[in-house]
Symmetry: C2
Subunit: 345 residues, 2 copies
Amino acid sequence: MEELTERKSKILNIIIQNYLETGEPVGSRTISKYPDLNFSPATIRNEMADLEEMGYIIQPHASAGRIPSDKGYRFYVDGLIAEKDREITEIKDVMFERTERMEQVLKQVVKVLANNTQYATMISAPAISGTKVKFVQLSPVNEHQLLSVVMMSGNIVKNKLIELDNPLTAEETLKLNMLLNSSLNGLTIGDINLALISQMKSQAGEFEDIIEQVLKTVADTIEDEEGLEIYTSGATNIFKYPELSDSQRAKNFIEAFEEKEELKDLIADIEGAAEGEPGTGIQVYIGDESPIGSMKDCSVVTATYELGDGIKGTVGIIGPKRMDYKNVMDNLTSIKKKLEQIVKG
Amino acid sequence: MEELTERKSKILNIIIQNYLETGEPVGSRTISKYPDLNFSPATIRNEMADLEEMGYIIQPHASAGRIPSDKGYRFYVDGLIAEKDREITEIKDVMFERTERMEQVLKQVVKVLANNTQYATMISAPAISGTKVKFVQLSPVNEHQLLSVVMMSGNIVKNKLIELDNPLTAEETLKLNMLLNSSLNGLTIGDINLALISQMKSQAGEFEDIIEQVLKTVADTIEDEEGLEIYTSGATNIFKYPELSDSQRAKNFIEAFEEKEELKDLIADIEGAAEGEPGTGIQVYIGDESPIGSMKDCSVVTATYELGDGIKGTVGIIGPKRMDYKNVMDNLTSIKKKLEQIVKG
DNA sequence: GTTAGCACTCGAATAGTTGGAGTGCTAATA
DNA sequence: TATTAGCACTCCAACTATTCGAGTGCTAAC
């Protein structure tokens, strides 16, 4: 593939930036008016014809200006990522109060992000696959109910009520608690195997039922979380972009956003892609690059955040291809940092 | 206001039913073809003119058929509510597995409901204003952290991490637990007043800080919940109804649905209205009757469910005015029953 | 290599045209 | 008196020109 001359690349960038702002196809006249490009429209036209031939821009119809193709966007975005050691613009108004409820934080983050950027946003709760049991506690609620509390690393807490056939004495409860904690603490789900389970059961004697249920809680907890909670916000922002807001498209988009099933695929894809490279953790999908059909007219920009212990999640923005990539990337980088601080902080 | 003759009311019902099915204005010819109405279109037209004058139907434009007015829908719906000792159609596929996490149940309920009815649905988590403290437990996680678990009636469990300056001994923890439980059990938020608080603090001696934090947790818990969690599903179903799916309307609707602020107003309104009358607990808002502006072209049908102890929530459906009221009401009644059984069950 | 000029293309917007569905009214009928 | 047939009228929706302007590609001149 031929290199772009400097002038071509300048023109291409102008086309893209202009299109990002206006959403209208860009004509040669418009470009020729830019101060650092002192050529007549005709010259520009020649260059544009070249750029089109090379696949960077597209003419939506014969007598219209040009708009960027996916390849054109890709060129632009790659340029941005390259110069991405820019100063970070602070996210305003995110009050990361120290709630232990990650959920609340995440909900707030997507909301603020959607507000800041005016695109649709999503965030996945940290997947806790590699997570360890930090703490287990059984507490009698009344004669027939036992509350089991399980805390995993990342301070994720889950509760489950266990129904009792026969009441437990305080002493028995204590014993079970000790057994559970000494056996489970520091283990990941993978570590809890059949051998361990049967060993615990035999130690629990007549209370093996309870052990069984607690383990089920642990498993549920993890599975629950593995079910990959995703929070979204600002889906309706797409109505702000005419090229996306016709009824059919909007329906598909919002549906995908509401149901979240497809978003899960997307996130799986992203986290897979993020695996290898260290870098900024920022991924960009343009148009068809995204695995979601209903988003083939969109761009997806995501950042993967890590909370240590292999716990990580993804935060992202979905908007029109003509999105303000610069601003979006800054926002995401900033959020990624904040999230990573919360846990350490 | 004059009574409707039997023939007029028959015609009105036919107009509404036909419009519910087709979404198209209904003309006199169409009506005259109904088997139990052997009159010529001309006669029907006369009756229709009367009905229009009385405000039950509307002509969207001069040479179109008639569509029901809000008043017309009201007439129809009132008729339905009156005959509402019908058999209940079972909700298919709702697997109310006994998760203690009400949240999961509610999420599932709205989803199923949206699927069943093909309208947009919402459900509010039970408000726990009148709720009592059932159980409090402090557990040391490590030297610097204490996990407080508070369970309220309705089996709502909340956790909060408390940061410790100095580690607690097992004995001290035990004492605090006893103090908390004996002092708080069975109390509602209203019962926890200043006198009680200072009394507890003095009993706790040097640990008054911890008491303070636990009480804060209780307050938070309740406030959190008072913040009225609302789950929604099927917002995009409105795209199925052409009369609602133009861009502007859809945007407003889905926005209101996503942000949920307005839904809260709606639910407050509903629960206020449901206060007095026992009845079926079913409320119907038609068009402007609803407090939400963006839903003035919709109907809202809701049921209030009660879990005892004054804990109650609302489940509802929002769709076009031409909604299948009968089916919707049946569904809601059925869900109301199921929800009320869960707690007793 | 750059530019001016010009014919050409296409889409968006605007303005007619038509046809059908539905009405209201009047006069005839049972 | 209640019902019906007939008819002129209205209005919308769909379709078809028509126009206008923005933008192009090409060619010839600079």
